[in-house]
Symmetry: C2
Subunit: 409 residues, 2 copies
């Protein structure tokens, strides 16, 4: 039966364009920072779409918007979702695609006059990007019980404006308790935000989980000295030590399977051409789909730093900026995604998600999986972020098929 169900591609594309017009930037991207006026306009638009489908619409205390298609039986719902907030220089698809496609799945069922056995819902989670309020994935984190509503309301942005106050101001502090809708399964459809699918010939990504992540901030202290009058043997140069650490971390990616490493930030002080630096601050972003492998990489970095510290007389201290274990998704749901892709004759490959998503939080409370489509050039958090219309519609059909089966299982 699901083979006859199809997303209305033109309508999906039109809805995406309508949402993209809200907070549109001159560069062709979107700026809808969480709980700003632009986010409110996006939310109002979304609620309007859900109303048009005659859904049961609920808003929870953290501003998560839920549209529910009542099923034939009571019980936990199949939930589709993502987010509609963006980073400051965001694109048109990150987050928006998963929400709008969820709306289209429900619209396709209504058009076909079909009612699933289970409730089928779409959620737009609050503040996924973390570009305005910390932490990122806040709405789904609260939904999954990881953070209290009160604690979330107490978060402030960089101007000191409170999240709770902003929720009230834009009219999206709802009456429901986050997590009020018990979940049978969660499916999130998202652009890949990386270059793998495009470079591997396109198709659908059946996401097997979200990799483990450690963000370290290293502070290296040496001895400032004059770069003209101080012989090399007398220097204690933390800049050179930082360079060695960056290269060591990069080399690890060649020996530890799945390992990623990035030195995204490096600051030297006093930062004069002719002064050997006194202090260097650098960050390392280390990721691996496997917790044990990531631990091995981190341990290797720490050992290398300990040796370097003794050899070059540089004091090196570490601070955790972030630390999350790997999030494996549910095998039956991953298989459903593969099956749906096959049903439409689409190439499909299992892959890890390099970035965090609301699915990471939802997997704490229910079986979860994600569907990826190619991001052209791997661009992400960029106004030029782009996925083709064919891929967008293909991914939405995979979502429709998998959600329909799960809602009737």
């Amino acid at each position: 039966m699901s083979t006859n169900l199809r997303i209305d591609g033109a309508r999906l594309t039109a809805r995406l364009a309508e949402l993209a017009a809200i907070g549109a930037t001159p560069e062709g991207g979107c700026r809808r920072l969480a709980l700003t006026d632009e986010d409110r306009q996006g939310r109002d638009w979304l609620v309007n779409q859900l109303e048009g489908l005659g859904l049961d619409i609920r808003i929870d205390a953290i501003g998560n918007i839920v549209g529910i298609l009542k099923g034939q039986e009571d019980g936990p719902a199949v939930i589709m979702g993502s987010h509609i907030d963006t980073v400051g220089t965001g694109g048109r698809y990150d987050g928006a695609l998963g929400v709008v496609a969820g709306v289209e799945v429900l619209a396709a069922l209504r058009d076909a006059g079909l009612v699933p056995k289970r409730d089928l819902a779409v959620i737009a989670f609050t503040n996924e990007e973390g570009a305005r309020f910390h932490p990122d994935m806040l709405g789904s984190y609260v939904w999954a019980g990881g953070m209290s509503v009160a604690a979330a309301h107490a978060e402030v942005d960089s101007d000191g404006v409170g999240l709770g106050a902003e929720l009230k101001r834009i009219g999206y502090e709802g009456a429901e308790q986050p997590g009020f809708l018990p979940a049978h399964a969660y499916l999130e459809y998202h652009i890949e935000q990386g270059p793998v699918l495009e470079n591997e010939g396109g198709g659908i990504g059946a996401v097997t989980g979200i990799q483990a992540i450690v963000w370290l901030e290293l502070t290296l202290k040496g001895r400032p000295s004059h770069a003209g009058t101080t012989p090399m043997a007398y220097r204690k140069d933390p800049g050179l030590a930082a360079a060695r650490i960056a290269i060591f971390a990069n080399e690890l990616t060649k020996t530890i399977p799945g390992q990623l490493a990035n030195m995204g930030v490096i600051r030297v002080q006093p930062a004069n051409v002719n002064v050997v630096p006194e202090t260097v601050t650098m960050t390392l972003d280390l990721r691996n789909p496997d917790d044990a492998s990531l631990a091995r990489a981190e341990e290797a970095v720490r050992s290398f730093c300990a040796e370097l510290s003794v050899r070059d007389d540089i004091a090196i201290s570490f601070r955790d900026l972030a630390r999350f274990p790997a999030t494996p998704f549910a095998e039956p749901l991953i298989a459903e995604v593969e099956r749906s892709a096959a049903e439409f004759g689409l190439p499909v490959r299992r892959m890890i998600s390099g970035a965090g998503h609301d699915a990471q939080m939802m997997s704490r409370i229910c079986p979860t999986a994600m569907i990826f489509i190619p991001s052209i050039g791997g661009l992400s958090h960029n106004p030029a972020e782009f996925s083709t219309e064919d891929d967008i519609v293909a991914g939405a059909n995979v979502l429709l098929s998998a959600a329909w089966r799960l809602a009737n299982a």
Copy 2:
């Protein structure tokens, strides 16, 4: 005869303390930025000392202050000198020592009732540090004919205040043409500003010249990408390239004799933990006493960057921030410094100056040499900059002896 001449150590120390009290900072250092009120007070104090010795005092159009002890014969003068301006967080000795010791040399001759054959003069050059106006060594540069008075007057500080206007304001735009006093020889006495003498057992440095210097700014452009979603093979990481260049430059110092290298500045953009940088700006300070060796080091860096650029697909561009050839001092004067040190039973070693000095400019127009004494801990441009009283007096005696012989040769 010179063996009987001695610096009055207590008076030298007292004069240094008087000058150090002008612009004194809570940390024990000095802040007399060129042509500020503090610099004026220092100048007024210096002129007062020169008047006390009954010297012929002249100020030139760039504010260089000259005190002349008339010799028995007409002809070019033997000139001693340095500067009394400091960096923002300067010490008590950098520059001040050479000027005050020159005053004490003339005072010792007056006390002894001795008049040399040649004129013997002391100069305090304007804006040696370059901390307020560019370029550094400006007063001696203009004196040596490297820059016009008009061009120097047109220099502005970071607040847009003109050097010419400041000279007028503090009353030190003099009537003399810079360079008005022909020079037979120039001797500059200075703290080492590095750790070599202290670590080699102390004594006197007979400075053989100032090393060649190249300051390069490199701009590396890669491709910004998500550090979680972009496999290592797809990255174009200019931060990693910068690390490789810093280490390569450091390695060169082990294979090219006399070579120094420093990466004093590195800035990455966009500087987010989870973004592979798009652009890196870094500086390299390369120095060598030998011009050909420095050219070899620079060529090696450029070749390495060219290969790296192709291999890692990183665009690398270069900009010169500074470029000066080596300045060898005059062998007969270096030998005079050694002879004077030996006369006082002081250990003496030939050494290169790692930093620039007014002597660098003066060597363009006359035989030049410098006398160094140890800097404890190699500290420089630091309130904790320190040299012992014994070393200070010893170096001043070497200056006295060498200047006296040169002024009678």
